[in-house]
Symmetry: C2
Subunit: 99 residues, 2 copies
Amino acid sequence: MPNQELAIERIFQALSDPTRLAVVTRLSDGSASVSELAEPFDMALPSFTQHLGVLEKSGLVRSEKKGRVRTYRLRPDTMKAAESWLERRRALWEMGAGP
Amino acid sequence: MPNQELAIERIFQALSDPTRLAVVTRLSDGSASVSELAEPFDMALPSFTQHLGVLEKSGLVRSEKKGRVRTYRLRPDTMKAAESWLERRRALWEMGAGP
DNA sequence: AAAATAGTCAGGTATTGACCTAAGTAACTG
DNA sequence: CAGTTACTTAGGTCAATACCTGACTATTTT
């Protein structure tokens, strides 16, 4: 796996926006279509789908198109990767020189 | 706790840059001064200290100045907050409608 | 087949973010 | 007390990002 850090960076980057955080939260409750996801936001659709693109490129989310509907779902393995990155460093610090 | 999401967003935002990720990794190994932290990076000091500022505002890191040396250390509670945010949503998804 | 629905593509603007140099200030050190 | 060290402050550039509108394609639905 070449440059693990780049992937991690992209995950955190994807999570650094309120709209995208809300989408992740929404998706944790179950998969949804673009328009279902977009509905709560006061934002033009193209702006919104751009956010979905960022989430998908980060690997936090994947999508599948059936007919004219694209459905998004969470990728828990990617979320786990971010968790582990943080956990690893926190544990090192807590066990080492400590606070 | 007023607007939890804003704080989470700021944490992820702070982690969305390679320099700052590397600083967090370095600090997981023990606290360090500004110049110790800056040394590996081919970057002007003011640019670098700006990154430290972002990390500190996010709460991932705190600093203390003694004499002319400012020392940085990790804040594991903040890292834990980010971990928990992710874990919570991942767990919901894994238990619910699932993949 | 016409109209509605669900997204997508192609631009354009405006703010934010990552960098820089130059010039400080404050605390050691010789 | 003069010089060096360890940052800090001020201001400026350039690219990336979050938005927008308008027009388009592909699928239902009627």
